[in-house]
Assembly symmetry: C2
Homo-oligomer: 647 residues x 2
């Protein structure tokens, strides 16, 4: 055991390599490690990486920092899995060169050192293969044959230094290899704008359910607003037994449609389509038509059953039966969800159950679905998802999964580690400057960033945030604009938000919509446009035109002198695109204040000289000072989205 | 795969279980983990531990904290290796009981729940074996046969709750098992006072070298001062080739003794004894005599060779030869250590080298040595030490190793992880209140605490700290008293310190002794006593009488209103012994100030009523307020060591 180096404290490394980290094509992986050896000899360190199907490793040298910290990076360029590992070794050739310089500077006689150097050069040439490293052998010869002074100058010269750099004397290396993996996905995984609607609410005529055909007619509107993903609640037959009525009533009138999440009836289950929406063929047609407009359809995967779902008769062993012959409701005592029963994942028949549920996802993948929004994944076992997502992505690598888990932080993290592409977040309840700065810092600056991709939603059919309840369009605009600029992935329960629905449920007093669309068919005037329609359109275009808004990891909060103003700067990785947002939390009054130019971040030395253009208002300002004045009028735009250019 | 729980973020866990943690007999291991499951069901969690040679695991339940954090502890009672692991599962019996209570409170009919409960009780009885869990079966019967109301009351009663606690319904459990190990050592590993002397300086007559016999005569003096460990520099034959003279001179006069760390001559090497000190038999006799006085002899293990060490002829392949036929000196360019050559651990013959060096340590273990102070371990490979220490401690489990590595933090940590029992520290250079508070917090409150046991030395033969250079006895007293009360392990290069040697080397200007004992024979008046002699004696007695000073992990810094005063409180684990130290950094003037009673730490609710006795001055004070006045006179005692008693 002649290896002398220690490699430890490696990041990224999630739970000892148990989970992979996530990137999209073109992103960097920054690797950090503590690397050291006994004694005083010079070390060299390599980061090795490759697509797991490649044979050859790429190699990049680490950079040394104080306290034995080393860093190196690589950029992922192809979809699939990358692997990376680290090598470190005492490099006697490099060590000799460093010692030579010091001893020479100390005035020592270098004759023996020249002999040692030539032998190290020859040995290094052997390591690399003599033909590849001919220059080393030539140099060794020169050290042996040249006159003393000129041989010394050869060692001190740039050519030798460059060769030592190029040809490591790698022996007795330590390898750190914990199966560290990166899953590289397509760009949409990190940069997406989601629009949610209930297909049954898309009918142009009041009184009948909307259909997939009606949704198709709305596609140009959605495309014009600039959304990439159209997400619809479950499209399966809705259960009739225990169907819920308006406002979560436990009894439904005969004509009430029920909740789309109460899946399954005698018409069919998770592979069937609710007849009032159309046919499977219609759904597939919708997917194809949407794709033509660069819109992908997100499918709602909700693994739960209405009491009349066919599974219950076909697979009674997958449910938890009570001694009175009923099935246990889904419950969180004393709360009950009477219109659905949960699947019992502890069933002895779990292998068949998993296979059946996998076949459901495969069925919809084959129908053309590329995105799954998963309902309450945190009420199903983590290991089931780890397995299912890996199985699906192996055969359908473009498939994305959004975890709808609004729950405790470690559970949300565990789902993300297990493979979820994106995750709903606490954004919905982060309202103050401090809350948002802390939350974004946690999401973008901690280990979370390696596996948890936030998707910011100001509202969902389940959640009318207190902040929006009874609020006017200024607040709707603010919460929307922050979601779309803080996070590169965002979504909105769209029409409801666009048309400023703000009525909470006065009976429960909770963050719920009154007359929630979950239990009724709604009619919208899809021809109308308003302030929010315009904001959607404008902001999605701004996001597409500015690379800085296409990632969440690059956010920097900067100083303001007014607590009501939050300032954040985002730079594209190549630093050619700089977006500077200033949001005002006061949705009733104008707010003004001074904001500091982050000179170091922007690479400004000396005087400030910036041109900033507000991409919402199209106003341009020229800033020549370290602190500059801004004013926000919430009735116009509660946020500045400045594009920053250096003059 | 029916298991639903996740166990992660486990501490202590050093580098994924690669290294063990350390304890002494009687210490606690506090285990923390994030544990959670999908859904809302009740979890149970067990910490399992055992001596690795035991068959049966001990089991203790975790306590739940917010944010899915769970904690549990166990106490190690025997020397050897303990192992620990974690189990967690959804406990349906417990979950049923919790749900029962909520639903009952909600006014629901409990008939079906009673039936479910009885079936869970029967199933749990099966898990535990019907004879062991008879009570569960009886209870199940009662639930089935009693009238409704009395059955409900049975479920809500204390007996059932107690049984549910006692008999977990363990199934589909997740096990976290990364070979997590604890090495449990004897008490001396954590609580020791070291005294260093050069045996050749122990002669009562000037002009001749001291011997092991002379050291024996000093043992009663060392015992009286209360030291546990007597550490002597290497006792091997000193090389004659390139021997160093007074003050590190590269040429020695004929009568100069040389540095004991330049090991080996034609007389012998690492298994031989320097003839002027006596014989191997004398050394063994010294060990035996010392042990009678509860003093252990620490052996200096320095794996390096004088140029005339026998290894060089016998094993030329273990050294790095230069093209001119010389061996490379030990060097840190441009510095050279001309009187020693390093062993080349990269030799192809490393297997034989390792075995020979192991045999050296075995030789001294068999001679009775129980403690090794290892010279410059950081210039030998980490993996060599990991192996050597494990090999030795397997056969000689009482053996301790102190790492003399004054180097970068991660290197010192790596040696400790690899098995070193104790480590020298940066205490020698931590002089201000902030430095000491930060350093002690790092040592005692971070992961370091699990494997790195500090040993605080105010001086060593290599280091006369600038703080002590030219300083008077007040500073010597302060630095000694802080070492002995901040850290449960401390040492002192004793006679030199006791007799206030404070003359630095004016030529080098470095933190070195002038006329260093490393190169000369010194004569001390071993009959003299002074202020330091008294302090040694008093402080070692105080440490032995107060359990709070016998560990380093229990330190709490508390508030003072004077930056010159540092206040720290230590509690024994059972909280029966409380020591409160206040140190003044001003060694020239009196300093006074107010110190705050840490009421929460001391468990004081309401009014303060404390009796504090200074164990140095024997003065007693009664404190009735939250803040109390103290005054320190450095000419008397620069530290208060208060024993705190609640009235």
């Amino acid at each position: 055991m002649q290896n002398r180096t220690i490699i430890e404290n490696v990041t990224p490394e999630i739970d000892g390599g148990k989970y992979y980290i996530k990137r999209v094509i073109g992103e960097k992986v920054d690797v950090t490690a503590d690397i050291f050896s006994d004694g005083h000899d010079a070390l060299r360190t390599s980061l090795l990486y490759k697509l797991d199907t490649d044979k050859v490793w790429q190699e990049v040298a680490f950079k040394e920092h104080p306290n034995d910290v080393w860093t190196a990076s690589f950029t992922v360029e192809k979809q699939g899995f990358y692997v990376y590992k680290i090598e470190a070794w005492v490099d006697h050739l490099l060590n000799w060169l460093k010692g030579f310089r010091k001893k020479h500077a100390d005035g020592q006689d270098m004759r023996v050192e020249l002999q040692i150097g030539s032998s190290f050069l020859r040995k290094t040439a052997e390591i690399h293969g003599k033909s590849k490293a001919k220059q080393l052998t030539q140099l060794a010869k020169s050290l042996e044959t040249e006159a003393y002074e000129s041989a010394v100058q050869l060692v001190l010269g740039a050519d030798l230094a460059q060769l030592v750099e190029q040809f490591p004397m790698k022996q007795f290396e330590t390898t750190y290899d914990k199966n560290l993996r990166v899953r590289v996905g397509r760009e949409l995984e990190l940069f997406s704008a989601w629009y949610e609607l209930f297909p049954r609410s898309t009918s142009p005529e009041s009184g009948r359910s909307g259909t997939f055909k009606d949704v198709e007619r709305l596609l140009p509107r959605i495309q014009e607003m600039g959304f990439d993903v159209l997400y619809m609640p479950p499209i399966h037959p809705i259960g009739k037994l225990n169907r819920k009525g308006k406002n979560n009533s436990t009894t439904a009138e005969a004509d009430e449609p029920g909740s789309p999440w109460a899946i399954g009836s005698e018409v069919g289950g998770h592979k069937a389509v609710e007849p009032t929406l159309g046919t499977l063929k219609d759904y597939k047609h919708l997917i194809v038509e949407a794709k033509k407009l660069d819109i992908e359809i997100a499918f709602d995967l909700a693994f739960q059953c209405a009491p009349d779902h066919p599974y219950i008769k076909e697979h009674p062993e997958w449910f938890l039966w009570r001694p009175d012959g009923t099935i246990a409701y889904a419950e969180n005592p004393p709360k009950k969800y009477q219109d659905i029963v949960p699947i019992n994942f502890e069933t002895e028949d779990w292998r068949y159950l998993w296979d059946e549920l996998l076949s459901v996802v495969q069925f919809w993948c084959e129908a053309g679905v590329t995105i799954f929004r998963v309902d309450n994944p945190h009420t199903k076992p983590f290991r089931f998802w780890d397995w299912l997502i890996a199985e699906i992505q192996r055969d359908f690598p473009d498939t994305m999964f959004l975890a709808e888990a609004f729950t405790r932080p470690k559970i949300m993290a565990a789902l993300a580690k297990g493979g979820y592409t994106q995750s709903y977040t606490y954004y919905t309840w982060r309202n103050t400057r401090r809350e948002l700065e802390e939350y974004l810092t946690e999401l973008s600056q901690t280990e979370s960033r390696e596996y948890f991709r936030p998707n910011f939603w100001p509202n969902t059919p389940d959640i009318l945030a207190y902040e929006l309840m009874g609020a006017g369009s200024n607040m709707f605009a603010l919460r929307y604009l922050m979601a779309a600029t803080l996070s590169s992935n965002y979504g909105v329960y769209g029409a409801s938000y666009e048309f400023l629905e703000n009525t909470g449920n006065p009976v429960t007093g909770k963050e719920e919509y009154y007359d929630s669309e979950k239990y009724i068919i709604r009619n919208y005037d899809w021809n109308a446009r308003n302030r929010l329609t315009d904001l959607y359109t404008r902001v999605n275009r701004i996001r597409k035109e500015n690379k800085a808004l296409q990632t969440t990891w690059n956010i920097h909060f900067t100083r303001t002198d007014n607590e009501q103003l939050m300032s954040y700067v985002k730079l594209s990785e190549d630093e050619t695109n700089v977006i500077w947002c200033i949001a005002s939390f006061d949705v009733h009054n104008k707010q003004a204040g001074w904001i500091e130019v982050p000179k170091k971040l922007l690479g400004i030395e000396g005087r400030v000289n910036l041109k900033v253009t507000d991409l919402l208002s199209n106003e341009t300002y020229f800033w020549f000072n370290d602190w500059n004045f801004v004013e926000l009028n919430p009735a116009k735009y509660p946020i500045h989205i400045f594009k920053v250019e250096k003059n």
